[in-house]
Amino acid sequence: MIKSLSTDATLANAGLSAEEQDLFSNARPTAYEPYSIKAVEDFANWCRANSLWILAFGTGCGAIELRPLMTARFDANRIGVAGRPTPRQASVFIIGGYSSVKTLKRIVRSYEQMQGPKFVIALGICPVNGGMYWDSYNTIKRLDQYIPVDLYITGCMPRPEVLVAGALELKKMIKEGRCDGANRYVENFDWYKANQKKVIKKWDMPDYNW
């Protein structure tokens, strides 16, 4: 029936109090296999590529550039890009520029709540190396130490045209089956988690936000 992950490898959820342990799942995420039939997998990737559901979560200043995407001028709808208000349904997470430590916590949580396959586009220069916040005490410098990033669109700020280009690029990557960030995240889960916990001091969430 419901195929569940093996629960023998559970997470400690050390950030939670005793009674909260019962409220959050402590299962460890596992990687998913591609469909065993190649044609099916290709078709599935084609579908995913043509229906990019962006999580409507503006994490940084770049979020302002997401708005024009839907307007008459750029009309991302025509290339299958649409916004979804809940991470459960979204497949693309656009990190809108710099991400503070505080935001990172929310980014991690949202990312983990998205269902795979899921893709991350990092917008602007800041997620690459910190950009103008390179010496800020409260801004993370390299996003891909915390979540796997499939595509960087640099610039400060990148214009919507670039975003459209990035989306098209992402579609191409998905169709080619190159976007396996979700599986990477799972496979290197302990490393990512350690990095996240290093910067997020008050870790009051479960280790994996199902």
């Binding site: 569940s4 909260e20 019962d22 959050f24 299962a27 998913y32 479960p206 199902w210």
Partner: protein, 1045 residues
């Protein structure tokens, strides 16, 4: 020889002899004197009893002549059936009162002799046939009473006693003056002789003479407003003495009034009005009274007013044959009940009704109190019930509808304050518990026991066979004896009794009654099985439940309106008591009782009007009522819909259903509420369907039903309390049924009965499920629950199925009811009702979903982590009923065919079947096919999803693993959206569900209290004012009657 020993004159001889010798005996030895005293009282009672028994068995009336000279030249006494009955009753009460008060009485020789002389005086008042001798006996009684009131010499007693003396002395003076004027005109003092020469009494002197006599006797009976002195005495005098004034002295006076009443032929209306005003006024004023003994005083005076009223009206209309049963029954009832209550008040020694909280938890005390109060209100099986029934019937025969209304309203008011008192006695608070031994309780307990016995015999003389009819009482009595056993054992015993009794009573019913028997008796039994889930003692619960269920059984077998009404009142009483057993059940139980009694009184009035029109109390004869049919139908239908919780009268329902025990509520809602449906069907079957009657009442009934459905649903939407929500839901669903019956068509009735069966099934499941949930969570507030599906999956499934069955969503049974009802309404042309019905069924969705969402879904509270599934014994009836729901859903023909056959004798017609599809004029409904299709369309996506699931890793997660705007939830309480779930709906249409009905009934209550306050202003406590009232009373009577002679 035996006759000589038991000669009634012996009463006087024993009394006088004992009294004269008491001082001598007392000097020798006190104990011996009180022994002789008690023996003398016992002897008096025995003589009276022997006489009564002989006379009741046909012995001739004993005429006692004194001085060896025939009347009218010498005084004579009469000891006929009525006299013997009164004397016996009074002497019995006196014996018990003396027993109750012996510890104080025995301290003085004078008290002993005064008491016995007082009793003798009352006996003399009853027996003498001489007007002046009557005066003597009145004075003997009065003087003895004066001293007995005040001999404790406390300030209050002295004041009250003095006022009493002044007032009764004036009354006696009037009597003496009247007597001498009567003598002046007739030349005789013998009452029979006076009546024979009645024509001689005339002119102003005769008029004044009669008026003086009448005023005097009425004043002695304490008519409103000239009765403040009487109340003061009731309040302050020792209980035993107050009881003797209330039941003994009043008995003597009322019998005296009865004796001389032939003289007052012209004043009978005045007398009735006096009685009526007194009855009504004292019961209104009683509402504000908190002092127990004064409360009893108001009740006493009211009862006397009722008896006076009954006597006058029945004589006025020549109903002499019924006088014995009615006035005798009322008298005996009042005598035993009121005396018992006074003694109880004397034993308990708490002044205010609040103080009686100390009685809570004392079973014997409460039993005696309850019996006496129930008797006083006129509930079966006590004598007052049969008497009141007879009274109302006879009043109706004489077209005295206004008087019927007065009697019933007064009785309702009396019930209000008496049961408010009972409520205080049931509810323990921080006041000190009452500690009394068994011995002091024996006199009141004896009174209670005698009430039951008397009830039995009154029932027989009322022409009822008390075998099956009073089975609930017997069963309750028998089970009450077992009340010491462990809870579950008692439950099993109760089940056995109900099963046996129910089968015996209702086993061989046919047609419609059989269908109701299946719901009420078999269904009730099924629900009663659930009572096994609680193992605690539950004192009094099982006997009452047995009484309730068996009274439902006897209700179904009733052939006459009297049998029906008896069972109905037994049902009311037992269910009221069951509600009081709930956690905070006492207060809502009172409003439940009052509305139930109100509805019962409407039903009684309806039956009475029918009896007047047809001359028969057969239920089958209701339809012959001719011109009265609309009135009868309206009264009965209104009575039944009030009991069903109709819109406007519903305010009792949520409280009673909510606060009763959880399994009780299930039975009340799922089972007992069908009794009113049964009544409505019977009545409508006899009356409503006849084509020659205008349908306006039925149309009104239809609207009442639909508005009830709508507002029941709307109010249910805004409840936080699980049971209260279900209670409003019950109200709403019964509204549909009422509307269905109102249709008076074959299809409408099939719809109504179908919904009745269905309501029984799903509401039973829901309330039992609620019982399980509440049992586990210890709260009724839904927002404190949540996520219980994980702990109670079976209960959840049961609730879900029940809700689908209730909502009318295909394929379960609810849709059938809606379909039938809608079709019947469209057939009938009741489009607006159909539209409202649509709306209310949509609104019903709101609260139905609310239950599932806030109780079973959403976030589970931390404290509920380890809850277990509801007890198995609660689940068993639910599962049984769910199976029935499923079977009926798939194959409704199983139910519809018997229903159609059962209603056909009342409303001709048949269901049209095309294969398995039911056809109507408008549409069609193929339930099995729907079932298959729905099963199919449900199964195919499920299989698809299961297949897809094979390709996906599905991770089961926990309750906090939700998207929460990138944050994490912190407490289940914050995350569970449940409190004021439909707040937005309230904002939109909340104006519709403002508690107008509650406000209205509160205002009614407020008004009656205000009225009471202004009526009792006259009781200033000033003796002179009271004297003035007596004079004014005389003057008023004089001028009110100047026109009549």
């Amino acid at each position: 020889m035996v006759a000589a020993v038991f000669h009634p004159l012996g009463i006087f001889i024993v009394a006088l002899g004992t009294a004269f010798l008491t001082p001598l005996l007392f000097r020798k030895r006190e104990g011996f004197a009180s022994l002789i005293f008690m023996l003398a009282l016992a002897a008096m009672a025995t003589i009276a009893a022997a006489g009564f028994l002989a006379l009741a068995n046909g012995a001739p009336t004993i005429e006692i002549e004194t001085a060896g000279i025939a009347p009218p030249f010498a005084i004579n006494l009469r000891f006929g059936l009525y006299e013997s009955f009164f004397v016996f009753a009074v002497n019995l009460a006196a014996l018990l009162a003396a027993w109750h008060y012996l510890p104080r009485l025995r301290k003085h020789a004078a008290t002993l002799l005064l008491f016995i002389i007082m009793v003798m005086g009352i006996d003399g008042m009853v027996m003498t046939r001489d007007l002046f001798n009557l005066f003597i006996f009145i004075e003997i009684t009065s003087i003895a009473t004066y001293t007995l009131i005040g001999f404790e010499r406390e300030a209050g007693m002295l004041s009250a006693g003095f006022k009493y003396i002044i007032a009764t002395s004036i009354a006696s003076a009037f009597f003496l003056l009247g007597t001498i004027f009567v003598y002046y005109q007739t030349g005789t003092l013998n009452i029979d002789d006076i009546i024979a020469h009645q024509s001689a009494i005339g002119g102003p002197i005769g008029f004044v003479a009669l008026l003086l006599l009448l005023t005097s006797l009425l004043i002695e009976l304490k008519p409103y407003p000239a009765n403040g002195w009487g109340l003061d005495v009731y309040e302050t005098a020792p209980s035993a003495i107050a009881s003797m004034i209330s039941v003994g002295v009043s008995a003597g006076v009322i019998f005296a009034l009865y004796k001389v009443q032939p003289l007052f032929g012209d004043f009978l209306t005045s007398i009735a009005v006096v009685g009526g005003i007194t009855f009504l006024a004292s019961n209104v004023i009683g509402l504000r009274q908190n002092n127990v003994k004064r409360l009893l005083g108001y009740s006493s005076i009211g009862q006397m007013g009722l008896m006076v009223l009954a006597m006058a009206l029945l004589q006025q209309h020549g109903q002499h044959t019924h006088l014995a049963l009615i006035v005798g029954g009322l008298f005996l009832n009042h005598l035993l009940a009121k005396a018992g209550l006074f003694w109880l008040a004397g034993v308990v020694q708490r002044d205010t009704v609040r103080g009686w909280a100390g009685v809570a938890g004392k079973p014997l005390l409460l039993l005696v109190l309850g019996v006496c109060l129930a008797a006083l209100i006129g509930l079966p099986p006590f004598p007052g019930f049969w008497a009141k029934w007879g009274l109302v019937m006879e009043l109706a025969v004489d077209n005295l509808y206004g008087w019927i209304a007065l009697v019933l309203v007064g009785s309702l008011l009396e019930a209000a304050y008496l049961f408010r008192w009972f409520g205080h006695a049931l509810r323990a608070d921080d006041s000190e518990p009452v500690n009394v031994g068994v011995a002091p309780l024996l006199p009141p307990a004896a009174a209670a026991a005698l009430l039951a016995v008397a009830g039995y015999f009154t029932a027989r003389s009322a022409g009822v066979v008390p075998g099956q009819l009073l089975l609930p009482v017997y069963a309750a009595g028998a089970l009450f004896l077992l009340d010491g056993l462990p809870g579950r054992l008692k439950s099993l015993a109760m089940l056995a009794v109900v099963a046996g009794g129910g089968f015996w009573v209702a086993g061989d019913l046919q047609g419609l009654n059989r269908i109701f028997a299946l719901i009420l008796v078999a269904g009730g039994l099924l629900m009663a099985v659930a009572t096994l889930y609680r193992g605690d003692a539950r004192k009094g619960f099982y006997p009452l439940l047995a009484a309730l269920l068996l009274s439902l059984a006897t209700l179904l077998t009733a052939h006459t309106s009297l049998e029906f009404f008896t069972s109905w009142e037994l049902m009311t009483l037992s269910s009221y008591l069951l509600v009081t057993l709930g956690r905070d059940g006492v207060k809502p139980a009172l409003s439940y009782l009052l509305f139930s009694l109100g509805s019962a009184f409407l039903i009684l009035a309806g039956f009475a009007v029918a009896f007047a029109a047809t001359g028969s109390i057969e239920l089958a004869a209701l339809g012959n009522a001719g011109d009265s049919v609309p009135l009868v139908f309206s009264l009965l239908a209104l009575g039944f819909v009030i009991k069903a919780g109709a819109f406007g009268f519903h305010i009792w329902l949520p409280g009673a259903y909510t606060e009763a025990d959880d399994d009780t509520t299930a039975i009340l809602s799922a089972v007992m509420s069908k009794a009113s449906i049964f009544g409505l069907v019977i009545v409508a079957g006899q009356l409503g369907v006849r084509a020659d009657i205008g349908l306006e009442p039925a149309y009104v009934l239809g609207w009442i039903g639909m508005l009830t459905a709508t507002f029941g649903a709307l109010m249910a939407v805004f409840q936080e309390d699980f049971k209260r929500l279900l209670a409003y839901s019950s109200m709403g669903q019964l509204g549909y049924i009422v509307a269905g019956i109102a249709l008076m068509s074959h299809l409408g009735w099939v719809a109504a009965l179908y919904m009745t069966v269905n309501h029984f099934l799903y509401k039973g499941v829901l309330f039992l499920a609620a019982a399980g949930v509440i049992y586990r969570t210890n709260t009724r507030l839904m927002y404190q629950m949540g996520g219980l599906i994980k702990n109670m999956p079976v209960t959840f499934v049961a609730v879900m199925m029940a809700i689908i069955a209730m909502s009318g969503v295909p394929p379960l049974t609810g849709f059938g009811g809606k379909w039938l009802l809608f079709n019947a309404m469209m057939d009938k042309g009741w489009y607006w009702l159909a539209a409202v019905g649509f709306f209310s069924s949509a609104v019903a969705f709101l609260y139905m979903f609310r239950i599932l969402q806030t109780v079973f879904l959403g976030q589970r509270k931390l404290a509920h982590k380890d809850l277990r599934e509801a007890p198995l014994i609660l689940l068993v009836p639910q599962v049984v009923m769910l199976v029935i729901i499923l079977v009926l859903s798939a194959y409704p023909k199983l139910l519809l065919d018997p229903l159609s056959a059962a209603v056909a004798p009342y409303v001709p017609g048949a269901l049209l079947w095309d294969g398995l599809a039911l056809q109507s004029h408008l549409g069609y409904w193929n339930a099995p096919m729907i079932m298959i299709i729905v099963g199919g369309v449900w199964a195919i996506p499920l299989i698809f999803l299961l297949l897809v699931s094979l390709t996906i890793k599905i991770q089961p997660v926990k309750q906090f693993n939700i998207v929460y705007a990138a944050e994490r939830p912190h407490r289940p309480e914050d995350t569970h959206y449940a409190y004021r779930f439909f707040a937005h709906y309230e904002r939109a249409i909340g104006v519709l569900v403002k508690p107008h009905a509650t406000a209205f009934w509160s205002a009614v209550s407020e008004w009656s209290h205000t009225l009471a306050a202004s009526l009792r202003i006259l009781y200033t406590g000033n003796g002179q004012t009271y004297v003035l009232f007596i004079l004014v009373y005389f003057v008023a009577l004089y001028f009110a009657n100047t026109g009549t002679v």
